[in-house]
Every structure is written in C-alpha cells, then in structure tokens.
C-alpha cells in the first residue's frame, strides 16, 4: 500500500527538511492513523520524537489532514488508511 506523507509549516524540519515522502506499507495489515504515527516515529523521525508526538497524539500546534480534510472529520487516530491516501502534517504558523 502506497501512502503519501507531506510535512509543512516547519514540521518538515523534523524530517530532514524533506516535505514530501512516499512510503510503502505492507498491504496485508490494516493501518490505522495511530499505527502510522508509530511507524513514522520508528522510521522517519530524524530528531527527538517529542517534537512531533506527545504520547500517542501529534503534539499541539500540528494539524493533521487526511486527503485534504481535518482528521477530526474522518475518525482521527482510528482512521484506516487506504491505498494512495495523502496524509499532511501542518505546523501552524504564528508570524505576520
């Protein structure tokens, strides 16, 4: 199963400054968002994980989107990934 990950608003700084990642996950398993966050922690995070995760959750100030919709609209941690899904992590900006 192929999933696209996008990090922006500064969240990419935790992932080697790379904004766009395409990952392959074993399709025979089911992948919840919760499981994906763990996978990201183990496989992609370059820096200290506490900058991205707080317990099982994404840390405050990072908005999570599943196919351009707030993950709150699709079940948050329980959402089950589909092939070709696009998951976006946006760090909220405060500057002006």
């Amino acid at each position: 199963m192929e999933v696209s990950l996008n990090f922006s608003g500064g969240a990419e700084l935790l992932f080697g400054k790379i904004k766009q990642h395409t990952i392959s996950l074993p399709a025979e398993e089911t992948w919840s968002m919760k499981k994906l966050l763990n996978w990201i922690k183990d496989n992609l995070l370059k820096e200290r994980p506490e900058l991205f995760l707080q317990g099982d959750m994404v840390r405050p100030g990072i908005l999570v989107l599943v196919n351009n919709a707030d993950w709150e609209l699709v079940g948050q941690l329980d959402y089950l990934l589909q092939n070709k899904d696009e998951i976006v992590f946006i760090s909220t900006l405060h500057g002006g």
């Binding site: 922006s8 100030g61 609209l73 405060h94 002006g96």
Partner: protein
C-alpha cells in the same frame, strides 16, 4: 580628466540630482497630506462614511470605484455596504499593511489599526506601507498615514496601544470585522476569544519562511481558533519571522487575501435585490488555505466544525471562558505577546560571560600574542557568512551530535597547545542572541569526556550583545 571619467562623473551627478528630486516630491506629498483632516485617535464609536450620509453614491465615488462597482457582486448597494462597514486590523506588519491598504482602496468606510511597536529597518522588506523616513515612528500611525494618503474618504483610527485583556473587547466590539495580522500565539488566542465573545467574525492570516496560512474564524456556525487548537503549542516550537525568516511577498499575498475575504464577507450582508442575484460570502470559513511559495503550491483543506466542548465558542452554559480579562494569555501560551526574543535562562551566572567580559579575554590574548581559549560559533553555517567574530570555529547547534568527533579533535588540539600546569582550557560558545549558546553549552558538557580540563561558558546575549556593548560597527540581523 579623461572622457570616460567625465561621463562617469556626469552620470553620478545626475543620479544625485534624481535622488534630490525624489526627496522633494516625497516632502511635497507629506506637506500635501498634512493639510488633510486629522486622523482620529482612540475613537472607534461613530460611523460617518460619505456614502451612508447621502444614501447614494456621489459622482466622485462613482468614478473612484467604477471598476469594482460594475461587478454584479458589488453594485451600488455593495459599495454603500463597504462604505458603511468598519474593519479592525490587528497588527500593522507584513499582513496588516496590504490588508489595510486594499480595504481602504476598495472604500471600506472605517479602518482601525492596532499596533504598539515602532517601525524598524528590518521591517521594511515585508511591511511595505512603512517608509524609510518612518523608522522609529509608531507602526499604527505610519500605516494609518499610508491609508489616508491613498484614500482620504476613509476614516482611520489609530490604536497605538498594547492589545490586552483590558482593552480587547472594547476595541473588537467597535468594528464589524477583525483581521488577525498579529505575530504570536498569546495575541492570537486573545483576539480569537474577544471576537467570539463580541460576536465578530475573524479573518486570520499568518506567514513564516516561504509559507502562509489563511482562514476565517467565528463566521456564522464555523469553528474558532480554539476549536482547532484547544491546547497552545509549546513556546519552544513557536518560530517568529525574526528567528525563522520570511519572504516578504508571502505575508503580502496572505494579507491581500485577508482583504479579499473581508470584502466578500461584508458584501454578503447586502440585502439581495431583485435585479442582482449574485450572492457572495467568504470562502475560507471552515476551510484553511495553505500556501507554499517555495513550490508554488496552494492547498485548500476542510476543517472540523465548531466544537461543542470549545472553551470559548460553546454555549454560555458550557463554555469556560466568559471574559477575556479572566485569562492570563502569556501564562496559557508559556510566552507573552512580544515577537522579540525573550532571552532563555538556562545556565547559571558563573557559566556565562558578558560580551564586555569576553572583549577583555580577547584583549588579553592579543597582548599575550597567543590565544589560550577556543571560541565556538553555534549558529547555522549560512548565518556565519553574514558576520562572525574573528578566530571563531563554526559548529552549528543542530549538528553538535553528528560532529562530535570533530569537536573533540578541536578541543584536543587546543588542550595539547596549552602549557602544562596552566588553568583549564576556556571554551566560549556564541550564537546570535545567547539562547542556543546556552543549550549548546549543556549539550557539549555531556558530549565531551568529563575528565578533560575544560571550562565551557557562553556569551550572554550573543553577537547582538557584542554589537551593542563592544563593536558598534558589527552587523545586527
């Protein structure tokens, strides 16, 4: 003098003359605007736009707004609506400048500008309505002046005050719509709460580096800022434009879109008449625009609805915030409303030297003609090409771990050079403002073997303090 030299000289004099002529033109403009009516100070109560008084548009107004007047979504009723509307711009910076100027140009009747800061040179690359001559002047007054000189029909109110819990409600209630053009989380939560409690929609923009975000909060049944972000981010993860950098055109674009959303929101209030069925309204209520200038990508995403358990926009029975005066926003966010760096205090006094003390260390070593210390600059490599202290070695803070061998080797070389029996080797760590240098000292203490005769200290206030206390010619950025 040779011919080419003469030509060069003439060209130079011509350019000087041109500069002087531009200056005269600018001064004439200033004198011209000085004759116009005074800008209101702190009086957002009355609403006296021209069109409202007449109930129709004057000949001047028709010509002035003709290009938008003939759009079916605007029309005479829409133009009158704009003239009858009032808009509060919270922040006269990179977002507030274009937002205010487009709203004034479109004929919004009353524009309020809130900002407590003064214009700085480092603002000019993005806060485009301020002028070189305005450096040191109140930003709110400077932007108000720009608005007035563009459209003298617009009433402008300057709020040259620090927005806080005591004044936010009065300010926001005095206008139909608010634009969040601020630059820090504490102010953003305060603005949101004041808008929710005063029942005003909020057009929110933000920008950093190459990216910008835009959304509309508290419009009809849409969510508010707290619905999206019930918990504030740790201040450690909040980057401002001063630390992170920003391309000026990004807030330029986002501020312009804030003006656009505001105009659409105001026009939505026009009663539909039978000849004009064009309904219009804001596009970003419950939606977020994410712009990435680096890859030229615009993304529009759907946001969650208004949250029933929101601390401020839930029903009066369930909400926990009833008055903004009761909330300590700096405490809530872990940091106050100032964009400026509020120095970290991690190291104890004896683990730090001031810039002046370090100057003495340098001076002594010059007299002794040898350098018994090591100076490590932990800024990103890119910044060392802007300016750096002589004899400093660059090991960026973020690379300390991966470059630990290099660091050990460096310290070792200096230790070997040191006379036997001499006091421990002094290692000084410097950064831009004295925050990362403290973290770097802590980290280096764990990275270097504990039994090495090394004393690591940082320079308080970093290179900025060096420029302020020791070398006035040293660049500050």
């Amino acid at each position: 003098m040779s011919n080419t030299e003469e030509q060069k000289e003439i060209a130079h004099l011509r350019s000087l003359l041109k500069d002087k002529e531009d200056e005269i033109a600018r001064l004439k403009l200033l004198i011209g605007t000085a004759g116009l009516p005074e800008i209101d100070k702190e009086d957002p109560s009355g609403r006296t736009p021209t069109a409202a008084r007449h109930g129709h548009l004057t000949k001047d107004e028709v010509s002035r707004y003709s290009r938008q007047l003939i759009l079916p979504q605007v029309g005479v009723e829409g133009q009158k609506q704009l003239a009858n509307s009032s808009v509060l711009i919270l922040g006269a910076g990179g977002l507030g400048c274009p937002a205010a100027i487009y709203l004034a140009a479109a004929g919004v009747g009353h524009v309020g500008v809130v900002d407590y800061d003064v214009v700085e040179v480092s603002n000019l690359h993005r806060q485009i309505m301020h002028r070189e001559a305005s450096v040191g002047v109140s930003k709110a007054a400077s932007l108000a002046q720009a608005v007035r000189s563009l459209n003298s029909r617009v009433r402008v109110t300057v709020h040259d005050v620090q927005l806080d819990g005591s004044n936010a409600m009065d300010m926001v209630s005095g206008y139909d719509v608010a634009l969040d053009c601020s630059d820090n989380p504490a102010t953003r939560y305060l603005i949101n709460d004041a808008c929710v409690l005063a029942g005003r929609p909020l057009i929110s923009g933000s920008a950093l580096r190459w990216e910008g975000q835009l959304t509309v909060y508290n419009y009809r049944d849409g969510p508010c800022y707290r619905c999206l972000y019930p918990t504030p981010p740790n201040p450690q993860f909040v980057t401002n434009c001063s630390d992170g950098g920003v391309i000026g055109a990004v807030p330029g674009l986002i501020g312009t879109l804030q003006a656009m959303e505001t105009i659409k929101l105001l026009l939505a209030e026009v009663k539909p008449d039978t000849s004009n069925h064009c309904r219009i309204g804001p596009s970003f209520s419950g939606r977020l625009l994410v712009f990435d200038g680096e890859s030229a990508m615009f993304r529009t995403v759907s946001l969650r609805p208004k949250q029933l358990d929101c601390a401020v926009c839930a029903s009066p029975q369930t909400r926990t915030i009833n008055r903004v005066q009761d909330v300590d926003y700096a405490l809530f966010c872990g940091r106050g409303p100032h964009d400026k760096d509020e120095g970290l205090r991690i190291l104890k006094g004896e683990d730090r030297v001031t810039a002046s003390e370090f100057r003495n260390v340098v001076q002594q070593s010059l007299e002794m003609e040898r350098r018994p210390y090591l100076l490590i600059d932990v800024r990103p490599h890119l910044e060392t090409s802007i300016c750096s202290l002589p004899d400093s070695v660059n090991v960026p803070f973020e690379n300390l771990e991966e470059r630990v061998d290099e660091l050990k080797e460096l310290v070792n070389r200096h230790l070997a050079r040191k006379d036997a029996g001499q006091s421990p080797l002094s290692v000084y760590v410097v950064c831009r403002r004295g925050n990362n240098s403290q973290l770097a000292v802590e980290r280096m203490r764990t990275l270097l073997p504990a039994d090495w005769p090394v004393v690591i200290k940082d320079i308080v206030g970093g290179l900025q303090a060096w420029a302020e206390q020791v070398d006035p010619l040293f660049p500050i950025y």
